[in-house]
């Protein structure tokens, strides 16, 4: 597989900061069986040249750095499948969070400050506000803990910090935030990251259907009458997408 890794590399390095360069090296590395999908990939925007429509450049850089740890690329290790960056998850997030995602939620008050988690989502925020607040708290807390930006931490440090946010050891509510705890923010971001990784490419993520190829999911084929009685036989065909991509 040939990819213009040279050019996207420099820009990505610029975008993501030096610490992300190591893992971004994975971007130039092909993973097995993605070959057929490569052509299609080209239709999707390249993350390196993507200009976020909703997030600021700084927010987007941070999102890239976080999602790169949530689903890392393979790097020099075993070939498994795309990371969040190769799958364009940040593009998905930009399109969804800046789109009408959450516009149909019920967001009239009153909003209790410490509701039981059993009651589900009880914050006064649209997803856009969850992200804007969450990314700022996240960036500030990383800076306070390490004296540098999250993007500039080592991968291990980043993972440890993410775990602390996930478990509320990094306490957003002690930083003046009324509703959005670290675990809330982590939960929302991780759920949206998985959605972007595994949904149909028409939403901006799952570039080239790479995640589907990795797990063996046939996407939008949606016709298995002859197949349903073939027990315990791996399904032989690659995925198709709603808009007609094939791999």
């Amino acid at each position: 597989m040939t990819r213009k890794s040279g050019s996207s590399f420099g820009r990505r390095g610029f975008m993501l900061g030096t610490a992300a360069i190591a893992s971004a090296a994975a971007l130039g590395v092909p993973f097995e069986s993605v070959r057929a999908a490569t052509v299609l990939d080209q239709a999707a925007p390249d993350l390196a040249s993507y200009t976020p429509g909703f997030f600021t450049d700084a927010e987007f850089r941070l999102l890239c750095a976080i999602t790169d740890r949530l689903i890392p690329g393979d790097g020099d290790g075993e070939k498994i499948g795309p990371g969040a960056l190769e799958a364009n998850v940040p593009v998905f997030l930009d399109m969804q969070i800046g789109g009408d995602y959450g516009q149909d939620w019920y967001l009239k008050g009153p909003f209790p400050k410490r509701p039981s988690p059993l009651m589900g989502y009880q914050m006064p925020y649209l997803p856009s506000e969850v992200y804007q607040r969450g990314l700022k708290l996240f960036a500030d807390a990383a800076q306070a803990a390490h004296g540098k930006a999250f993007e500039d931490l080592s991968a291990d440090e980043q993972d440890a910090f993410l775990s602390d946010v996930q478990s509320d050891k990094v306490d957003f509510l002690a930083m003046g935030e009324d509703y959005l705890s670290g675990s809330n923010f982590f939960g929302q971001l991780w759920s949206d990251t998985k959605n972007g990784y595994l949904s149909d490419p028409m939403y901006g993520g799952n570039k080239g259907m790479g995640a589907w190829i990795m797990i063996g999911y046939p996407g939008a084929r949606a016709s298995f009458r002859e197949w349903v009685t073939q027990h315990n036989v791996p399904y032989p065909l690659g995925p198709v997408s709603v808009q007609g991509m094939r791999a």
């Binding site: 149909d104 589900g120 595994l198 149909d200 995640a211 797990i215 009685t229 709603v242």
Partner: protein, 590 residues
């Protein structure tokens, strides 16, 4: 001033399953019928391949569901608590638009048993006085198996129900459910094909002495022409069913089975994007004169009608009764009043199992694909309920409703994110099957529906407030079922597994999806002191108001609700056409 429409014989509020059935039967009888549906029109062409083959859109963004912004309810665990709104959907998610939840149900279509219809009688016979919880309020349905059977039979023909007969006029048949009530006719169509998880579960549980059978399905196994002349195509196991409209014209829905035939009746019409806000009563409060709705421009419209049918789904039906002053609201302190009484839900749970060497191809499936057994159910011969001190049971099943990748379960110990998660997805997607339970849920003095004092909807009307929590009876049942499921798991021998069941101190969790099988709140019965509706779903208080839906169930049985909801609607329609239209008045004397 409100706009006033021309008067109709019958106004039907909501055009989902019960509304479509009622409108069809009344239109066939020559009545002038108008349906008022709050959501958009939705035709099968809107859902042509490949549009529904989109997990994110339909399953995560809830494309075809009601929007919480306009259709939320509030929920709390007990009468002392403050209820909070369902700002996003979680444990249940109501439908919207023409077809209602019938457009995107899973289509497991199953009858309750004769015992389920007479549960109070059964409990009184089988349990010692004082053995069951004191605050339990189970009641008999005011209909008998013999009254209902022909209506199940007809609705199942409308849907092309596919399954294996277990009891044909009293003769037990091989391969079916030996505990089902006697059927007058076999299932219209043979069962769906087994997937690998089905055959493993079937074989193992048969060896263990249970009586497994294919999940009865309204995803049809073969081409079918229904009694209204509608053709349904054989299911192609597309893997996009529960929460998705059918892309293959194979799932029984109002669209595929009723609406095209209904629209041929000149005496029927319908309005969409029109939300009914209340039933208008005559001054004496004893009959309705019509309904008021808000049309898509925001205008209030009065629709005069000789009969009003609330077909707007369980909690919406209860709410419209409360907003309109039909019947006495239930008071959990005194136990008096009936509207809102006996809300019930259901619980689920199960064991997730992982097999390295098995390819389940979970994407190749119908919504209803699965195998279940009903050995654990309230019935003569089931003694463990008495032994363990619970009333109820569960379908124990291995179903594979879809294999779409968002939400793929991974073995315990797999990292929740990062490289380990990615590896887990690669290694385990498609190697997973589940043993599940779908339980009964009894009704209790403290579980009910009323109007919320704080939160209102987009039109400024109070939301329905649900007060609900698990009770000891249901939690004991869960512990009992857990043991059974773990034994089945042992026999199946997975490489790894994890179990999720309620614990004895579990509270109702609004977050994970359970099922949209909300029932009760305006229940049917023989006694107006403990029921809001008589056996024809007619309000005891306003004889020209009828309220079909799961709201009529006095408690929840373990079968999925829609076969019963449809059959009750047919039962009521038949009586209305034969008697009520000729001489309007109470169909049952209180």
């Amino acid at each position: 001033m409100a706009i006033v429409n021309d008067e109709v014989d019958a106004v039907v509020v909501g055009l989902g399953w019960s509304g479509s059935i009622m409108a069809m039967e009344l239109a066939r009888a020559g009545l002038k019928v108008r349906a008022i549906e709050r959501g958009p029109d939705q035709t099968s062409e809107d859902f042509a391949y490949p549009k529904p083959a989109d997990q994110y859109g339909y399953d995560k963004l809830y494309k075809v569901f009601a929007k919480p912004a306009s259709a939320a309810v509030t929920v709390r665990h007990d009468t002392g608590g403050t209820a909070l709104p369902t700002r996003q959907w979680g444990s249940f998610c109501p439908g919207n638009g023409v077809g209602g939840a019938g457009l995107h149900w899973t289509a497991v279509m199953l009858r309750p048993t004769p015992t389920d219809l007479k549960l109070k009688t059964y409990a009184d016979e089988v349990y010692a006085p004082g053995q069951l919880q004191e605050d339990m309020q189970v009641q008999d349905f005011p209909v008998t198996w013999d009254e209902m059977e022909k209506h199940f039979d007809f609705f199942e023909k409308v849907c092309g129900q596919s399954g294996t007969t277990g009891n044909l006029r009293g003769d037990i048949q091989p391969g079916g459910d030996p505990f089902e009530g006697p059927r007058s006719n076999p299932y219209p169509l043979p069962a769906l094909e087994d997937t690998l998880n089905c055959s493993m579960f079937r074989e193992t549980t048969t060896k263990m002495g249970y009586h497994p059978f294919s999940n009865p399905s309204a995803n049809v196994s073969q081409a079918w022409t229904n009694p209204y002349g509608q053709n349904i195509a054989p299911c192609n196991y597309c893997g996009f069913c529960s929460k998705y409209p059918c892309l293959n014209y194979s799932k029984a829905s109002p669209q595929t089975t009723i609406l095209d035939a209904l629209k041929l009746h000149k005496n029927f019409d319908y309005k969409t994007n029109a939300e009914v806000t209340r039933v208008e009563l005559h001054d004496d409060g004893k009959t309705a004169k019509g309904i008021t709705y808000v049309d898509e421009t925001g205008q209030e419209v009065f629709q005069p009608a000789k009969m009003v049918f609330l077909c707007s789904f369980q909690f919406q039906n209860v709410r419209l009764m409360l907003l309109s002053g039909i019947g006495t609201p239930y008071d959990p302190m005194t136990g008096e009043g009936v509207v809102g009484r006996n809300y019930a839900f259901l619980s689920n749970g199960g064991v997730s199992m992982f097999f390295k060497d098995k390819e389940f191809n979970p994407f190749a499936t119908a919504g209803a694909t699965g195998v279940m057994f009903n050995d654990v159910s309230p019935r003569a011969g089931f003694e463990d309920g008495v032994k363990h001190g619970f009333l109820g049971g569960a379908k124990i099943h291995s179903s594979q409703s879809n294999g779409n990748p968002i939400g793929t379960p991974l073995p315990e110990g797999t990292p929740g994110w990062g490289m380990g998660w990615k590896k887990g997805m690669r290694d385990w997607y498609g190697h997973h099957m589940k043993i599940s339970i779908t339980t009964t849920c009894m009704s209790y003095r403290g579980n009910y529906v009323d109007l919320d004092p704080t939160y209102s909807d987009h039109l400024g009307n109070p939301m329905a407030r649900i007060t609900f929590d698990w009770k000891e009876n249901e939690l004991k049942l869960q512990q009992y079922l857990k043991d059974i499921c773990l034994k089945i798991k042992d026999q199946l021998g997975p490489d790894s597994y994890h179990a999720s069941f309620l614990k004895m101190d579990s509270q109702y969790d609004l977050r994970p999806y359970v099922s949209t099988h909300n029932v009760g709140g305006a229940v049917m019965g023989d006694d107006p002191k403990t029921s809001a509706l008589n056996k024809y779903l007619q309000s005891w208080d306003c004889h020209n108001v009828f309220v079909p839906g799961g709201n009529a169930f006095p408690q929840n049985f373990q079968a999925n609700p829609t076969d019963m909801i449809g059959a009750l609607t047919y039962h009521a329609a038949a009586k209305i056409v034969s008697d009520y239209v000729k001489s309007p008045g109470p169909l049952v004397q209180a």
